[in-house]
Amino acid sequence: MTENSPLISAKIAEAVSETFGNMAFLDVAPVQDATLPEDVQQVIWAKLLIHDPIQSEMMLYIPESALSTIAKSIYAIPEDELSSQIKIDCIAELLNTIAGRFLTDILPADRSFQLGLPETGETPGSEIELLANSWHFLVDNCNPIVLNATAMDQLEQINTNIVI
């Protein structure tokens, strides 16, 4: 795993915070600890390919219990009315929105980008695959969520005009 650039990390944090704030009305805080608690058994993931201007992959991992809290807040319905399909759709849309918000912010204004369609799945918490760059966030005091991405160094090279 490579070290996260301060610029990329700041833009990722803004995108995650704005997305969760607007869609789920939940506060998000970045955390340094990269390990999930051992009692996190099942994690839902979403994966999204960035096709242009770089070839990259972003993955969002959310422990099932945390995703229930998030989906409940987005849909404003009781937890027992949340289907697994709703939860999976939520994580896909969250990642799609985070990725778009991040790329809009990090790329020059005249540079377009193209995203793929999100894929989703489940994995045991112990089998989370950490890609080249990884960030962890606490959402509403739930177990931490993990955002992974590749090729972020290439994005930073494209970005020559942004000042934090």
Binding site: E18, T19, N22, M23, I74, Y75, Q85, I86, D89, C90, A92, E93, N96, T97, A99, G100, R101, L103, T104, L107, A109, D110, R111, S112, F113, Q114, L115, L117
Partner: protein, 130 residues
């Protein structure tokens, strides 16, 4: 009652857009949800709509193709179209507006931004609620 079509492949996004539209004044509208551009086009052909809100990146038929179809149809090209996208930037926004989109909003949308985009459309409707 106004008829509003929301096209997005994400049920979460459709629900969220619908909620935002209700917040900014369309609480009495009839909402028709479509999972892609083709479904939205079929809904538009089945019955006229007062507003189309569409995502850009969708399977089967994307939002840009949907917008082109709507603008090319004499029966549909008067329907205001708001594009909501996670892949927007000023260049893309200008391109979509040149194709006929009334407004282009970046996700995550917020009710104030939607209200600003919707205001001229609501004004063009006047007091009519037919």
């Amino acid at each position: 009652m106004k008829r509003v079509i929301i096209a997005d492949d994400s049920a979460t996004a459709r629900m969220f857009i619908k909620r935002c539209l209700e917040i900014v004044g369309l609480s009495d509208a009839e909402f028709i949800e479509a999972a892609n551009g083709k479904e939205a086009l079929e809904a538009l052909k089945a019955a006229p709509a007062d507003l189309l809100v569409s995502d850009l990146n969708m399977p089967v038929m994307d939002g840009e193709t949907l917008l082109k179809w709507v603008q090319a149809s004499p029966k549909l090209n008067g329907i205001p179209v708001i594009v909501v996208t996670s892949a927007g930037n000023p260049a893309k926004e200008a391109q979509l507006k040149a194709l006929g989109a009334r407004a282009v909003l970046n996700k995550p949308i917020a009710p104030p931004a939607l209200m600003q985009a919707l205001e001229p459309i609501l004004n063009s409707w006047g007091g009519s609620d037919d």
